[in-house]
Point group: C2
Chain length 132, copies 2
DNA sequence: AATCATTTTGATAACGATTATCATTATTTT
DNA sequence: AAAATAATGATAATCGTTATCAAAATGATT
């Protein structure tokens, strides 16, 4: 479960633990640079990929193709607006208790899950009704 | 719920109904061309966006940024491998019965939800253990 | 310590799905 | 018919991500 980690992986992991929120690769790049621990962008993507394959971090990819990274232990249930793209973090998880994906779990090694509700946020409901 | 639809929207909708599986925008482009109903790629993206905002179709975006489209009524619960990216469609839904996102539903208009389990498929479990 | 092999890194180019632009064509309204 | 509006398609631009490749760092071997 815990493979040997490179310096860059450890730096990223430490920052993710400290921030305790999901963050994009590009944001990671500027944030690390701001803390005078700058890493190349390619290195960041490489480290994220390695941590992802270990199951240490999880990824959520928005419909615009941008991905956000966070510790795998964090919650991942959102309410996402199809219009403005903003996501609202949900507190409770309807499935964590139940034996999720019971049969498939035997052979498929599950690291985490994401439950995403898609629709329109209040302001976008207005905006769309007005402009159409 | 059902806004006036352009010809291109109707063509895409008809094809989605017929195929009854999720399909990418690029695939749609070649498939429509194959059926001598060719549409411009920009038009396809425009139509997909409009149908999405109506709640008629749903989108699932892979971690590589590519999006797949299908009718909103179809199931959307997957087992996705972090290594090869392949997704396995799950049959049962652990949450459809329960009043999902109960409180938020009042103001946030939910069209559909996606429940995605991420991990490693059997073959990728082997592959990674061998090469490391 | 010096040499060699392996790993890690970073600058940059390449990639590819999506989006913006804009002129043309179709449709509707007056 | 004329004007206004909407829809379309070819193409350029965007942008997050991935591939490339040479340099630097690390570890092993003599
Ligand atoms: Mn959960
Ligand atoms: Mn369901
Ligand atoms: Zn919104
Ligand atoms: Zn796999």
């Amino acid at each position: 479960m815990s493979a040997p980690k490179t310096d860059s992986q450890q730096q990223i992991l430490a920052l993710l633990k400290q921030l305790n929120r999901e963050i994009s690769a590009q944001e990671l790049y500027v944030e690390l640079r701001r803390r005078s621990q700058s890493l190349g962008l390619a290195t960041i993507y490489r480290a994220l990929k390695a941590l992802k394959l270990e199951g240490t971090i999880q990824t959520r990819t928005l419909s615009n193709g941008e991905s956000f990274y966070s510790l795998a232990e964090a919650e991942q249930h959102y309410l996402t607006c199809l219009n403005c793209g903003k996501s609202i973090l949900l507190e409770n998880c309807p499935i964590c208790q139940e034996s999720a994906a019971s049969r498939e779990q035997e052979h498929f090694k599950i690291y985490y899950h994401i439950l995403d509700f898609f629709g329109l946020c209040p302001s976008c409901q207005h905006q769309i009704h007005v402009e159409s």
